[in-house]
């Protein structure tokens, strides 16, 4: 075990905690700059790939989102400043994602095992997952406007990790010394990344349903961006990964505890998250089009997910078989 690498991992987390507020401020300034211009839609960054040039998209607005270039009536100077702010925010978020990933990798190297054994490691990995998934998809999907909530959430998680849950790198109890640890917990944490982004997009979609808020949001969100469809894409990936979390957890439980399902509080909580997102997917199709009720169900699922990672891990009233992995 290399404790010096553990120290570097903590340093990387601190560095990310220094970078994230700057990214957050830049992203907020970008949104503020957009809000001051005419409400004709955000100036998109030069897209990495061009979408269809000649295809005419018909249909109800917002139903099949397609990033058409909205002409902003702002002066070129203003647009350049907006673009620079947006690029700054995005690059700083990339940097924070890289730092958090480095922290996870270094922590794993310092312990000689996947860093999935306690609350500190869970939360660092979750923060890394959220910022990584966002960074991978931001450019293609013109998600600069989403940088503020993402950096804010990542910052909160990282600070909680360092202030509340820090523990030095250590070895695992025998029950956790299994290759399943890397599989089961990693899949869960990657799913957290996608489901968090889905929750952020769903929140904005629900806000967009209110006319007064929508008028303000129109300046910030690229015109034609179909928030609900983007949230759906995030949710289906997260849901598939969560299904694998359940299955891999059951396979591991069978090896470690003798039964693949024992209604342990953490198992129940994972199932509850899965059921709520399943209800969300069903509700999305019941009325023939996605409804606000479906959106609220997605947010309920995200709340259950947060409780799964915090309350169930930490609260003694949820004592069960999973509790040694809490702190």
């Amino acid at each position: 075990m290399r404790s010096d690498l553990g120290g570097y991992a903590l340093l990387a987390v601190y560095a990310a905690i220094l970078v994230l507020p700057v990214a957050f401020v830049a992203a907020s300034l970008y949104l503020a700059a957009l809000a001051r211009t005419e409400p004709a839609g955000a100036t998109p960054l030069p897209p990495a790939r061009t979408h269809a040039r000649t295809v005419t998209v018909r249909g109800r607005p917002g139903r099949l989102g397609h990033g058409s270039e909205a002409a902003s009536s702002a002066a070129p100077e203003v647009r350049r400043r907006q673009r620079r702010l947006g690029a700054t925010a995005l690059n700083l978020t990339y940097l924070a994602a890289a730092l958090l990933t480095a922290a996870v990798v270094l922590r794993g190297l310092s312990e000689g095992r996947p860093p999935n054994g306690n609350m500190f490691e869970f939360s660092i990995a979750a923060a890394a997952s959220i910022s990584l998934v966002y960074s991978a998809l931001a450019r293609r999907r013109q998600w600069v406007w989403l940088a503020a909530p993402v950096t804010g959430a990542t910052l909160l998680i990282s600070m909680a990790a360092v202030l509340l849950w820090y523990t030095p790198p250590g070895r695992l109890m025998p029950a956790l010394q299994s290759y399943w640890l890397g599989i089961h917990v990693s899949i869960a944490i990657i799913a957290v990344g996608f489901l968090t982004l889905g929750a952020a997009l769903t929140t904005l979609h629900l806000l967009n349903q209110r006319p007064r808020v929508a008028a303000g949001l129109r300046r910030l969100v690229p015109a034609g961006a179909d928030l609900e469809t983007q949230a759906y894409t995030m949710h289906i990936v997260g849901f598939i990964l969560w299904t694998f979390t359940l299955i891999s957890g059951a396979l591991w439980a069978e090896k470690a505890w003798g039964a693949y399902w024992q209604w342990d509080p953490k198992e129940v909580s994972t199932l509850v998250v899965w059921l709520i997102y399943a209800a969300h997917l069903h509700a999305r199709l019941t009325a023939g089009r996605p409804t606000t009720r479906a959106g609220y169900l997605a947010l309920a699922g995200f709340l259950a997910l947060v409780l799964n990672f915090t309350a169930v891990n930490l609260s003694a009233s949820f004592a069960g078989l999973h509790n040694y992995s809490g702190l």
């Binding site: 005419t56 693949y260 953490k266 209800a279």
Partner: protein
């Protein structure tokens, strides 16, 4: 993933219901005035059953049942459950004397086997079955069907392109058909339009209908059917499973008979007399703890392993090692190492030195440092039986400031602390726990000054019991292994069903289901001055047509526009060579 009413066909029985209603409706009066309310036919019992069945199998009911299942599941993780931790249930009942028994009566402490929880998920499964069967029938029909006719107004579809190309209609249609359903290997269209097996059909000479993504519905059905199989596998597993736990000190063993096992929990359909026969002997245990001084992990367990020998009739004895996460498979069962502790070897002699009791006595650990409690029942002592109860401390706290506590889980400084009782060990021959002493018919041994006689022994030491009753010797300490033998049938079925459910889920969510319609209209050559779209004067020899592409998707599909763009680009590039030759 979710099952929704198909876009293609109307719900079954709608036509017949409307007909029935129409036949029964009274004729409107010819004059002005409000028409009387139509009288609907009364529903007989069959009608009510059909209504109930139809309501149960709608998507809305499934949604309600899913959320009900969530609501029903949550109390099980908040309130203690008997299957997870029975002692916490007892503590809860003691702490809540009024609410506790009511919760117990309503089944909240064995929630997942209670009637109402079972009702919720059974209803959900019935709803699911009632939805799957018609949809499977529908799906099998669509497997043989052709893509539908293009709609009359193509520009009403979500994605729509109209352009002119210098191709004959036949060339355009052939090129499109070649792109969507290539006859030779290799992709002609780039992602996301790459053919997922488009079926192409020409209903009229100037149109083409293409449809793909039948795998999506197949995945959907596979997912839901697999869920049913998972539930079935869990049910089979519950009915025929059995579990047995036994505490085995090093050097001893057990056999799979009810008398040799400590606890045996057979499932409802298991005959405890017919368990697979084998014997297992624990030779030694390897347990290690973290000894890094000053580390936060000091005292954390590092390794649990039991070296065992397995005996079965007809085969030679074999040695094996059981560790956490690596159970041992024997005769269709799995033996898990789930616990460990210390068993001090205690010898009790009578006044003349004859051995009344000598055994490795398992003591149960109470905390992370393995402060263990245990009991010695010397049944052979006469005229009054002797019982000893106390603590075993692997690393005794020398100060004794907070009573007998152990400081570290490894045997660095083992100490045995016992008090003695004499009397009747089994008053009324009532059954009692091996690890608890019933002192209701016993008196405590006291030292000469009246305080309870306490023996504090290190390995090898002997304590003389007061009153000339004999002596207690702490010989040495061995470990015990907590083994659990489990037989869970249908495990493989459940696992396979779960994995196929995951695969079905992936297909049902990620495979796009698209319909593309192509319509070509030939250009009528104008008498004069008409220009073709590349600027050269149109001549009768230049082919030209207007191509209309339209696409729709039956589910949320963010890439639909790009698919059509790819097809458009492909058709333009097909036209280009003929443009060159025309020049």
């Amino acid at each position: 993933m979710p099952l929704n009413p198909s876009d293609d066909s109307p719900p079954p029985d709608a036509a017949t219901t409307t007909e029935t209603e129409a036949a029964e409706r009274p004729h409107r009066s010819a004059g002005p005035g409000p028409a009387p309310d139509p009288t609907l036919p009364p529903l007989g019992p069959i009608g009510w059953l059909r209504w109930a069945w139809r309501s149960l199998t709608t998507m809305r009911t499934a949604l309600i049942l899913l959320l009900l299942l969530v609501a029903a599941t949550i109390p099980g993780s908040i309130l203690p459950q008997r299957t997870v931790d029975p002692s916490r249930v007892l503590a809860y009942l003691a702490a809540h004397p009024t609410a506790g028994p009511w919760l117990d009566r309503l089944g909240f402490f064995h929630l997942y086997s209670s009637v109402w929880f079972s009702a919720v998920y059974l209803l959900l499964m019935i709803s699911l079955t009632g939805c799957i069967l018609p949809r499977t029938r529908q799906y099998l029909r669509t497997l043989r069907s052709t893509p539908p006719r293009p709609p009359r107004r193509l520009d009403r579809l979500p994605v729509f392109v109209q352009f002119t190309a210098s191709l004959t209609p036949a060339q355009a249609l052939t090129s499109a058909r070649e792109a969507l359903a290539p006859t030779r290997r290799g992709r002609t269209l780039r992602w996301p339009a790459r053919a997922y097996g488009y079926r192409v059909h020409a209903h009229t000479p100037t149109t083409l209908s293409a449809e793909n993504g039948r795998l999506r519905e197949a995945g959907n059905l596979l997912f839901h059917i697999s869920i049913l199989v998972v539930v079935l596998g869990v049910a089979i597993g519950h009915l025929w499973q059995w579990r047995a736990d036994v505490i085995v000190p090093e050097g001893q063993g057990f056999t799979t008979t009810a008398t040799s096992l400590d606890t045996l929990n057979p499932g409802p359909l298991v005959d405890p007399g017919h368990l697979p026969a084998f014997a297992l002997r624990v030779n030694s245990m390897a347990v290690s703890f973290d000894t890094t001084p000053g580390s936060a992990q000091l005292g954390q367990p590092r390794q649990f392993a039991a070296d065992v020998t397995v005996s079965q009739a007809g085969t030679a004895d074999r040695a094996a090692r059981i560790t956490v996460n690596h159970p041992l498979g024997i005769a269709g069962t799995e033996v898990y190492l789930l616990g460990n502790g210390y068993a001090p070897v205690i010898t009790v002699r009578d006044a003349r030195g004859a051995i009344l009791y000598q055994d490795a006595t398992p003591f149960l650990p109470q905390d992370a440092a393995y402060t263990s409690t245990g009991v010695v029942k010397v049944v052979a002592a006469t005229p009054r039986q002797i019982g000893l109860a106390g603590f075993f401390l692997p690393t005794a706290d020398p100060t004794f400031s907070s009573g007998p506590t152990s400081l570290f889980p490894a045997t660095i400084d083992p100490e045995l602390i016992l008090t003695g009782w004499t009397g009747t060990l089994f008053p009324g021959n009532r059954p009692q726990s091996v690890y608890r002493l019933d002192t209701s018919a016993m008196t405590q041994l006291t030292s000469p000054d009246g305080s309870p006689a306490v023996a504090r022994l290190r390995p090898g030491e002997t304590y003389r019991l007061p009153g000339g009753l004999g002596s207690v010797t702490f010989d040495r300490v061995v470990r015990w292994a907590g083994l659990s033998v489990r037989h869970t049938p249908a495990k493989t079925l459940t696992m396979a069903a779960a994995i196929s459910a995951a695969l079905g889920l992936i297909l049902s969510l990620l495979v796009p289901r698209r319909r593309i319609f192509i319509e070509v209209t030939e250009h009528r050559p104008e008498p004069e001055g008409r220009r073709g779209h590349h600027g050269a004067p149109a001549t009768a020899t230049l082919p030209g047509c207007t191509v209309t592409l339209a696409a729709t998707a039956t589910s949320t599909d963010p890439h639909l526009a790009r698919v059509l763009d790819r097809l458009h680009t492909h058709l333009i590039s097909t036209a280009r060579p003929s443009k060159e030759s025309a020049r």
